[in-house]
């Protein structure tokens, strides 16, 4: 195995274990902390995919903002959910079976795909992914509409969330 493969393997395992703990940990704050580790592992994989911008954005948005929001939400809804008792609902064996079946199905479908095991091609010369992305985001024949819509979506989400969380009983 070459070094990159080892790094990938280590972080993939860390991420998956952390993800598993996210969905099984009893204390919700621990869940949130494991979630942060899992998201960080994903950021490392982005670096391995030559997407440094997404790695930094992942850490900034997910760890810096979304995870904090989760921790706040856990603290705000704390009263009745002590860390005692099962955090799993009654149908969890069914859910586990479903998840395993889905993974097996995905594996089956993917492995019959011709370019499943394709090696990483070299980056085309002269391409600057970052400024290309910036250009595409504001080009009318590329992603201008989603770009502006994302902004409007976020505004709507923010106003809605503020309204929902601030209304009195």
């Amino acid at each position: 195995m070459d070094p990159l493969q080892i790094i990938f393997f280590i972080f993939a395992v860390i991420t998956l274990v952390a993800a598993f703990l996210v969905v099984t940990a009893k204390s919700l704050v621990h869940s949130a902390l494991w979630l942060i580790l899992a998201l960080f592992g994903v950021a490392v994989l982005y670096v391995l995919l030559d997407a440094g911008f997404f790695a930094a954005a992942q850490v900034l948005i997910y760890i810096g903002a979304i995870a904090i929001l989760f921790i706040f939400a856990v603290m705000l809804t704390r009263k009745d959910l002590r860390d005692a008792g099962s955090q799993q609902n009654g149908t969890w064996p069914l859910a586990a079976v479903l998840a395993v079946v889905l993974f097996a199905g995905l594996f089956f479908i993917l492995s019959s795909w011709s370019s499943f095991g394709m090696p990483k091609p070299d980056m085309p010369a002269g391409a600057n992914a970052l400024s290309d992305l910036g250009l595409a985001l504001v080009s009318a024949n590329a992603y201008l509409l989603p770009f502006e819509l994302a902004s409007v979506l976020l505004v709507a989400a923010m106003i809605g969330a503020i309204y929902v969380s601030l209304i009195k009983k």
Partner: protein, 404 residues
């Protein structure tokens, strides 16, 4: 001669040649040298704290008409070492009900997040840890990790004061990140790149001259990010004991302390790099060692202002702190960003690329925004004065109204 011009990359090249001569694979040699470099940068940044703590204490004392440390070594310059020995031999006390793992991880994470910033700071043209093409975003992202350390410290201590302190800290740090990122977008826009070293190279005219407002916005929001006076609500001693560090003792507490001092210095280094031209200066291109000198001189000048700000300002109230951010810094930063984009594109369309014109137009635009802001502030201050000076109902008011 070659050695004198650029000692660090000279040693680096020599080492690489040596390792390759020993039949080491080139990639392994690079990795080893980078590891060594990382080790040196990390050690250096931590060693720096020993010095900056002394600088800060001395300056603090002088402004308050005291002597400050003056016993150990000349001017007390070695005062930090006995302090270190003391704190190394202090007992760790872990409070009941603390979440052990998270509790011990928090101080490490807090300090790490600060040292991590040094990975992208360029010391000279050739002495750069790493010039990743997303340097600016990296800085902000690493700041997010620091936030995490604080919330972990507050939550795991099982103490109300700690949790309150952590919550306040988060809402402060999180709020001030918005103008900070906005202010950082201005140099990115002016330099068309996110790499820190590339940004330094792009500063033929310092960005602090091109856009002084962005420099100020960054400076102030960074102060809040560090969390010291006047923004030290997170550990407001009179209200919250010591905030999120209440339950920490010994070196674990010391680590938070180190983190704060190092962060102050790091922010100065960032300000110097991003806005004051970093290692740029006469002769720095040919003589990288000169560049290092320029960089540290600039950093220490900014650091001086950081300390003075800390010493001379009273603590803000929490509502004032949030108002200052959301109702002052953020709108100004948004306006500045729009204006900068318009001016840049306008100059490009006209086809003027003379540096003088660019500087003058940008500077004028900045001054215009400052003038507008001051005008608006004057008006709202007048209103506020009227509102406060109006007679207000006091505790007995409801009774007199009822008798009418």
């Amino acid at each position: 001669m070659e050695f004198l011009r650029d000692p660090i990359s000279f040693i680096g090249n020599w080492l690489e040649g040596l390792l390759l001569g020993w039949k080491m694979a080139p990639s392994a040699a690079t990795a080893l040298i980078q590891l060594l470099g990382a080790f040196i940068v990390g050690t250096f940044s931590l060693a720096l704290v020993i010095f900056t703590i002394w600088v800060e204490r001395k300056l603090y004392a002088r402004i308050q008409d005291r002597l400050g440390p003056n016993r150990v070594g000349p001017w007390g310059i070695f005062q930090t070492f006995p302090d270190m020995i003391k704190i190394f031999t202090k007992e760790y006390i872990t409070p009941d009900g603390a979440d052990k793992v998270v509790y011990n991880l928090a101080p490490i994470l807090t300090v790490s997040a600060v040292i991590l910033l040094w990975a992208v700071i360029p010391f000279a043209r050739t002495v750069v840890g790493s010039d990743v093409n997303v340097g600016v975003l990296y800085i902000v992202a690493v700041g997010a990790i620091g936030t995490l350390g604080i919330i972990m410290a507050g939550w795991s201590s099982n103490n109300k004061y700690a949790l309150f302190g952590a919550f306040r800290t988060i809402s402060q740090m999180v709020s001030y990140e918005v103008p900070m990122v906005l202010a950082l977008l201005v140099p990115v826009l002016l330099g068309r790149t996110m790499g820190i070293n590339s940004l330094v190279e792009a500063q033929t005219v310092w960005f602090a001259v091109l856009s002084p407002l962005a420099a100020l916005l960054f400076f102030f929001s960074a102060q809040a990010e560090i969390g010291r006076a006047p923004f030290d609500l997170l550990e407001a001693e009179s209200e919250l004991v010591a905030g999120y560090q209440t339950e920490y003792s010994g070196l674990k507490f010391g680590m938070f302390y180190v983190g704060e001092f190092l962060h102050a210095f790091t922010v100065s280094a960032l300000t110097a790099s991003l806005f004051l031209g970093g290692w740029r200066g006469p002769g720095a291109e040919q003589w990288p060692i000169l560049g290092m000198a320029y960089f540290f001189v600039k950093t220490f000048i900014v650091y001086f202002f950081v300390i003075v700000l800390r010493i001379t300002m009273p603590r803000l109230r929490i509502d004032q702190m949030l108002n200052f951010n959301w109702k002052f810094l953020t709108p100004v930063a948004l306006v500045l960003l729009i204006a900068t984009a318009l001016v840049e594109k306008g100059l490009q369309l006209v086809g003027q690329d003379s540096m003088v014109l660019r500087t003058v137009v940008h500077l004028g635009m900045n001054l215009l925004i400052v003038w507008g802001t001051v005008e608006i502030l004057r008006r709202s201050a007048r209103k506020e004065r009227q509102r406060v000076s109006e007679p207000r109902p006091v505790a007995i008011a409801p009774q007199t109204q009822a008798s009418d």
